[in-house]
Structures are given as C-alpha cells and as structure tokens.
C-alpha cells in the first residue's frame, strides 16, 4: 500500500516541530517540506542572539543530517507558488509539482508593514529572518541614528539589536500610549520606559508616523503631530501578518484581518488541508507565540496518527528579558477592580513594578504583570494556572514572606500538583520533570532538556525546571554523588539507566560512551553485572570475559591454590538418585572433593581450569545446569520437605521452591541473593534468614524480605501475608527488580533496606501499592530476563572461542598448572595451605 503523502509548506519553528512530532509517533507517512528560506528551520525566538555571536548554525533547530535520518524530503529556497486542490497538487518555484494526500500550512507570518508614504526607501528594514538581520547589520555600519517603529516585544528586541550594532542614537516609535500594549499596563510601561531611557533609548509614545523622508534613502521620519525625527535607518516591527496568501489564492477560507481559519483539529474548510502556527486563525485569534504553535503541531501530528487531540486556545503568558530588563505578564493581566483586587508594588529607585490581580474572595491569583524583577514569574504563573489557594496575605507573593521564611507562594514548587504544566512550549508537566530526575537520573539541566525537552522552546521555564530538579535530587538525598571509581562519574543507578537508554551491550562500549581511560577492577565487574541485569546475554561474549570478576570469568569459584569448584544447580535441594550417582562418578573421575553446601546442593572442589569444560559437558549431558555459585545473582532456594511427606506441612514447599529457583536462576543483581521456602511455621528451611523467604500459612504464603546470614545476620521482615502463589511471585518480581535497579554495588538486600528512607513501610508501599507506578514495568523487565535465561555452561562448552580460554598456558594448552598441590584428608583430597609468605 502506498503511504499517504504529507506536504508541509513552510520550514519555520512550527513546521519543524510538526515534522519532529509526527516522526516520533509514526514513520508511515511520506513527508515533504518546502521552505522559502535558504536554511533549515532555526530558532526565531532567540534571533537577536545572532548579533551576539551566535551563528546561523547555532540557531538551527536540527542537525544537517536530521531530515535525511528522519526520511523527510526537504526543499529549501523553493517556495510553493500555487496549489490546485482539485488535483491535490502543489506547484513550486522551480517548476515542479507534487501530489499530496494531506497539506499542512506552516507558513508562519511576515512582518506587518504599514502603508506609510516612503516605506520603500533604502534603509528601511523588517526584523524577521536571518537574511533581514544580515541586511540590517551591514547597513548599520554607516548609520549613526536609527528608529524602530513598534514598541512591542519584537520592536524592543530590534532596538536592542541596533544598540548592539553600535548605533549611537536609537529610538522607538509607538502608536499606542504605552510600550508592549498587549502585555503591560500604563504604570508598567512607565517603569519600563524609564529603564530603557537609562540605557540610552529614546521612547516616543502616541506617535503616528505619516511619512518617511529622504531622497532614495531614508533621512527622517514625519509624524501626525507635525514633528519630525532625523534617522539614518528604520526597522519596522509593527506587528505580524499571517502568511495566508497561498491559502487565500486557492480558495481556503481566511479571516477578515488575515489568518487561515482552522477548527480545534487545525483543519481548514478543505478536509485535506490544515494550518498550524502563526498563519492559523483559531477562534478569531492569531497565536503569535511559540508555545501555542508547538501545541498546534502536537494536535495535528497526534490526530494524523489516529489520536484525538484538540486545540482549545492557549495561555498567552510571557516572560522575557528585554535589554536586560525582566518583563512578564501572566493570566488575566489587565483585569481591574471591581472584578478583582489589585496589589501593586512599585520601587522606582530599583525600577521594579509588580502587579497581581487577586480574586475578590482573596482565594486565587488571576493574573499579573512584572517589570524589573520577574523571578517570581514561574511560581505566580503556576499558582494562577493551577488555582492554588493563596496565603492569607497575597502580597507575600510579590514581596516575599516577612516572617523570614521562604514560603512565598503557598508551599512553593512542592505545592504544585504533578500535572502542573511547567514548560508550555513542549507541554512538559512537573511530574514529567521530577520523574526524569528520579527515574532516568537526569541530574543536570542539559540531560533534563534532552530527556524531557523542557526548556528547549522559549527557555522561560528553565529556572523552575532547575528548582524542580534540585528539589527532586534533594528529596532523594542525592547530593553526595556516589560515583563508582575514577573512570565513571556516575552512581550504579545512573549507569544502569544510561546503559539502558543507550542500549550498550559490552564493557568497552560503556566505557567509550560513559566513562574515561581504561577502566579498573572496580568498574569492570560492576558494569558487567549491569549489562547482565539488563540484557541477560552470555556474560563471556563480546570481549566481556575480561571485564568479569574472576569467578564469573571462568564460571567457577577460584579456590585457594588456583583450582576451581563446580556447583550444579539442584533446585529446591531435590535430586534424584541417578543424578547423585552422576555427581559421584564425575567427582571420582576428575578427583574432586565433594561437600554438601549450606544451600542444599553439592559442591565439587579441586578442578583444574583445563578440566572445567569437560566436567561440565558430562554434567550437562546428565541433565544438570550451572548453579551460578560464582555469580552475583540467585544462589539457591532452600526448602523443607513440606506437605508431600511432613506430617505438619501445610503446602508443598519443595514444588514452590523449585518453581521459584527456576524462575529467577541466572538473573544478575548487585549482590548474590538467596531464598527459602518453609512448609509451615516450624520454618525448617530458615526462610527468615534469606533475601526473600516464604513460609506456608493456613491460607497461603507469608513473604519475608531482606534478611541475610553472613557476618551481620539480620532477620527478614514480613512484607505480606496469606498470599496465593501467583501474587507471591508477582511481589517477588517487583521486589527483585526494585533491588536490581536501585541498590548500590555489592549491597545485599538487608543493607539496601537499612539505607532506604521509610524502611519496610516504604518498601511495602512500593511493592504492594505500586506507589512509584513502576510495577508493570518491573514485571515486564523481569519477564524478559526470565525468558532470555540460558545455561551459561552449556553455551560455554559449545562455543570453541570461549572454550579455548579454559587452559592455563597459552603456549602449552594441554598442560595443567603444575604448582597446584593437594594433600589427603579423611579419604579425600584438600588443597595445600597457603604457601608461607
């Protein structure tokens, strides 16, 4: 089937964002983009930084290969000139035509140029594209005086640019009685004006420009009040005009004052044609900010991928730094008494003006304006958007609490709900940011930006994003960074997530991507353990053999003297006479010392490295598999004999132990872990001394966690009671994944719990009530590990390259290490004592 073809007209910020969002949701469209500018989409919001040394490439939103990588056909310098909606075709400036199934206008807006006599003269510019900036910049070299028509947001930016370009006298001409008439009130404008004047900008308000004088090139401006102003150049920034001419020409409905009319799905009157960004007119309004444009892109991209999103208008709150001066407005900024109560703070000495509009009952913040100091903007915006109940004296919001506490704004960021929208450009909520910090370990702003995209639009939310990050880190007690060694500046938990995200599969890949230098005996086994916990691949492959701890490297425990021990798995401690005989025969044949272990299996000691593969070949042939006695993972699940034989037994503890041992065998963890199942309260399997232990009750199983023997014995704690087998296993799944993901290296479950804030109650909440919302993911992850289980020894003996490594001498592969010595004791051999040092 042919994929539907989408043509996007316009390669500005919103057009680009649409492509990005669409591709992140689906690759099943042919996507073609036509841009009239000669370069890839760039950041127009920060355009004036072009004058501060940023290059066009710095401002670019994508990398050079991005379109190709995303399989998007991009035409630059090639505007669409005509559309035939009956044929569903677009015609371009280079004479070609392309068919579309879906057509998207992302044509943006152009500068609105008022019809002033003389506007065509040399030295008159608009401030819209990088090309405009290049023209302004080269003309400014010979100009001493300049004016900007338009005292709005963009006009002030333009004036700043002119100052930066070295113009001695720059003025701003505004038709309205105040600056930034859409954002700020008269008092705010006065404050801003006096601050701008301090910087050498002349501000002319209430000025209607009626003519541009000069012989071919501009020399002066004439105004309706018969005054005039000599200028060498002029930048027009009197507003924007939606680029709707193409749409209009092909019969798409446009608004009386411009703009392509769209509904809440961004659809025009032609069902195959859509419009997004500043060219779109929704509900009689053009949204001339980046955030709503991105939201429109999201709505359209989602709906094309069978989503059901609608655009229902947008919060037009803004905060920006104009020429070093904070200017912000939010919510209902112009509402006045008696519809609200207004609180105003003014400090002419410092040039600060703050106004907040509070509901008449004093409960809620409706909106406000901030000049000179907008540090409280984000919090105020959130307080207003989320209808957070105000403190008793709302003035504290702009003055700070006078009790000396920092609690201005209710409970501050901690009081915000998780759904609070922090980055409106990218639609990132507080919950998204906090979980990126907590769960994905984004611990600096750059990581957080990459991970969540928060702060990558206008950047206004960055201070709050930073606060949230700091706060989340603090709440996790993460200030002391627990780095592994000199080669990795990460904690185990961070590395776990990073390896996962980057899908790294070998130690060298991890070191190259995340670490430095050559690694060491600390980070190598740790990273190997993470790789095993994540991917469960054969641990000796991909050059990972040399990154394994010595026991893992040879899949056996090295013993005093340099020989190895062999421990096959005996699940639940149950073994047939035939298998016992095989163990006996193998032990005799290879002269091995045998002993019953504490975990109900049989250990064979004294094997030469060279003999390991052949020993295992024989054991595997008899139906044994690796017991992982050498690995940091599940050791044994002990059991008592249970209800099948015992007169006290309540349930079949052996069957359950076997089921559990076979479920978790081979899974690597921060440390070894052990388990046991007892068939009744007499607890013969000693389950309460295990990392997780299970004891039969009349009604089911009691589950205990985080016990261990060892040098500091600790009893396991009761996690849940009277569980059925399935629930019991589900809880163990979650428990193990939580442990694997979060424990420090070489930390047993008991120590892990001891360090956990909130202790067993917190753990219970996480495991049983799924308080972190991770249960489903963990269950899924452990299922993957279980499904990918293979006996390592079987793989090792069948792989010639791996098998070759089981010899002592590289230049005499048949020879065993002659220095290994055994002596006799009680009819068996034992290793010789450490040689005297």
């Amino acid at each position: 089937m042919k994929e539907p073809q989408i043509i996007v007209i316009g390669n500005g910020m919103v057009g680009y964002k649409f492509c990005e969002k669409l591709r992140s949701k689906s690759s099943s469209f042919n996507l073609i983009v036509f841009g009239e500018e000669p370069r890839r989409a760039y950041d127009r919001v920060h355009l004036s930084e072009y004058f501060n040394g940023k290059t066009a490439e710095d401002l670019s939103l994508s990398t050079e290969n991005w379109y190709q990588e995303q399989n998007i056909t991009l035409f630059l310098n090639n505007p669409v000139t005509k559309i035939n909606r009956d044929l569903k075709k677009v015609y371009t400036a280079n004479g070609l035509d392309y068919s579309y199934d879906i057509l998207v206008f992302a044509t943006g807006s152009g500068a609105f140029v008022p019809n002033i006599p003389g506007i065509e003269k040399e030295g008159v510019f608009v401030y819209r594209t990088i090309e405009d900036l290049d023209l302004i910049s080269s003309y400014a070299k010979k100009a001493k005086t300049a004016s900007v028509i338009g005292g709005g947001l963009l006009g002030l930016e333009a004036a700043k640019a002119l100052i930066d370009l070295g113009i001695e006298k720059t003025s701003i001409i505004e038709f309205a009685p105040r600056l930034m008439p859409r954002q700020i009130d008269a008092a705010g404008s006065d404050m801003l004006k006096s601050k701008l004047a301090d910087l050498g900008l002349q501000i002319h308000l209430n000025k209607n420009t009626t003519g541009i004088e000069g012989d071919g090139r501009i020399t002066a401006l004439k105004f309706s009040d018969d005054t005039a102003l000599d200028v060498d150049m002029l930048v027009i920034s009197a507003g924007i005009k939606p680029r709707d001419e193409l749409a209009k020409a092909c019969g798409i409905e446009v608004g009386p004052r411009g703009g392509i009319v769209v509904d809440e799905k961004m659809q025009t009157n032609d069902p195959a044609v859509f419009a997004i960004g500043e060219c779109a007119l929704y509900d009689g309004m053009i949204y001339g900010l980046i955030a709503p444009g991105y939201e429109m892109a999201e709505v359209l991209a989602a709906n094309l991928c069978k989503g059901d999103k609608t655009f229902t208008g947008f919060d037009m709150s803004t905060k920006l730094k104009l020429i070093g001066i904070d200017v912000a407005s939010f919510g209902d900024n112009f509402i006045t008494e008696p519809d609200c109560r207004t609180i105003i703070f003014e400090n002419k000495h410092k040039g600060i003006y703050k106004r907040i509009n509070v509901s008449n009952d004093g409960q809620y913040l409706l909106g406000g304006i901030l000049i000179g100091d907008a540090t409280a903007y984000n919090l105020l915006l959130q307080t207003s958007n989320n209808k957070i109940v105000l403190p008793e004296d709302p003035a504290e919001l702009i003055l700070g609490a006078r009790g000396g506490s920092e609690s201005a704004g209710g409970a501050g960021i901690t009081g915000l709900p998780d759904t609070a929208l922090i980055c409106s450009c990218e639609g990132v909520s507080k919950g998204d940011i906090c979980s990126a910090v907590a769960d994905v370990s984004c611990e600096n702003i750059d990581d957080l930006k990459k991970c969540t995209k928060a702060g990558t639009g206008c950047g206004g939310c960055l201070p709050m994003v930073k606060d949230l990050m700091t706060h989340t880190l603090k709440s996790q007690g993460k200030y002391i960074k627990n780095v592994m060694c000199e080669h990795f500046n990460y904690s185990r938990q961070e590395l776990f997530d990073l390896i996962h995200i980057h899908e790294l599969k070998s130690y060298d890949e991890v070191l190259d991507a995340l670490g430095k230098n050559d690694g060491c005996e600390v980070c190598k086994p740790l990273v190997s353990s993470l790789l095993a916990s994540l991917w469960n691949e054969m641990i000796l492959k991909k050059g990972n053999d040399v990154a394994q701890d010595s026991n893992d490297r040879f899949l056996a425990n090295i013993q005093k003297g340099g020989s190895y021990s062999v421990v096959p798995r005996v699940p639940g401690g149950e073994i047939t006479p035939d298998k016992l005989i095989v163990i006996g025969e193998v032990a005799k044949k290879y002269n091995l010392y045998t002993k019953i272990t504490g975990g109900q299996r049989i250990d064979m000691f004294g094997a030469h490295l060279n003999d390991l593969p052949i020993i295992w070949e024989e054991l595997i042939a008899a139906g044994f598999e690796s017991g992982h006695a050498y690995g940091k993972g599940l050791r044994t699940v002990k059991s008592c004999v249970g209800s099948t034989w015992c007169r006290f037994g309540l349930h079949d503890s052996v069957s359950f132990a076997i089921r559990i041992e076979e479920r978790y065998r081979g899974i690597r963890a921060p440390h070894k872990f052990k388990s046991a199942v007892s068939g009744c309260i007499r607890e013969c399997a000693e389950a309460q001394s295990k990392d997780f232990g299970i004891i039969a009750t009349e009604k089911g199983w009691n589950l205990y966690v985080c016990g261990n023997g060892g040098s500091k014995p600790q009893h396991a704690l009761l996690l849940a009671t009277d569980l059925d087998s399935e629930t019991c296993i589900k809880y163990i799944d979650r428990f193990l994944m939580f442990y694997i993901r979060t424990a420090d290296p070489l930390t047993r479950t008991a120590t892990w719990l001891n360090k956990m804030e909130g202790g067993i109650d917190y753990l219970r909440n996480v495991i049983i009530n799924d308080s972190l919302g991770m249960a489903a993911q963990w269950e899924n992850e452990i299922e993957n590990l279980i499904a990918s289980y293979k006996c390592e020894w079987k793989e090792a003996v069948e792989n010639p390259a791996i098998r070759k490594r089981f010899s002592h001498f590289v230049n005499a592969p048949e020879d065993k290490d002659p220095t290994i010595e055994f002596v006799e004791m009680r009819g068996q051999k034992r290793t010789a004592e450490w040689k005297t040092v």
Partner: protein, 115 residues
C-alpha cells in the same frame, strides 16, 4: 633498559586475550602476558602474586589508575603496576616485569626481567 638476548616466542597475537592476560610457560617459570588493546600496549610480569604466592596474575583484571596501567590479582584484589611492577595497594613486594615485542604477528617476551 637492559639488553635482551633471550626472547621467548610466547604466542601469536591472535592467541592473546584483548584487554586481558594469558599465562606463558617458560620452563618451570610462569609469565603473565597482557595485551592492553585499549592502550595498544603489551606487558609481561611474573604470574605469581607475591601476596599469597598464587599463580594467578594472568587471570586478573587489568585497568589503570591515574594513567598507570595495572593488574588486580583475582584472589584478593592486590594491584600491581604493569609498567614498574610496584604494588599499588598495600605493601606487598614488587613483581618482576619483562619486556615484550611483537614481530610478524608473534609476541616475544624478553626473559631477563627489567628490574
């Protein structure tokens, strides 16, 4: 650097273990040979760890600390410099190190210790 007259043909390059060690038999002696692929360097030391006299260094993990190449004994993680033989953890005595050269794909160990 002392003059080497006795070069032992230890193994082919492809028989050595990348970023790890192998043990080379030299009469009654055992020499650990390390192919530090990451640094494109070869090292040879005695195979016996002086701590508990175990023939084990060739099975140890290699790495570096502040740029110094090292090997960690698999028994008790004592570490030794691969370039000087000096013990980097605790006060075990130094290990012997040997010169290594590669010619036509064969790895040679100079059997007179460097120090």
């Amino acid at each position: 650097m002392n003059e080497q007259s006795n070069w032992l043909a230890a193994c082919r390059v492809e028989d050595a273990i990348e970023n790890g060690g192998v043990c080379v038999k030299h009469g009654e002696d055992q020499i650990a040979l390390f192919y530090f692929t990451r640094r494109n360097e070869w090292y040879a030391t005695q195979n016996e760890c002086p701590h508990k006299k175990q023939m084990a260094l060739s099975r140890g993990m290699i790495g570096s600390t502040t740029g110094e190449p090292k090997v960690a004994c698999p028994f008790h993680k004592k570490t030794f410099s691969l370039s000087t033989g000096e013990c980097l953890s605790g006060d075990e005595c130094a290990i012997k190190t040997y010169p290594v050269k590669v010619e036509n794909g064969t790895v040679y160990i100079g059997t007179t210790p460097k120090s």
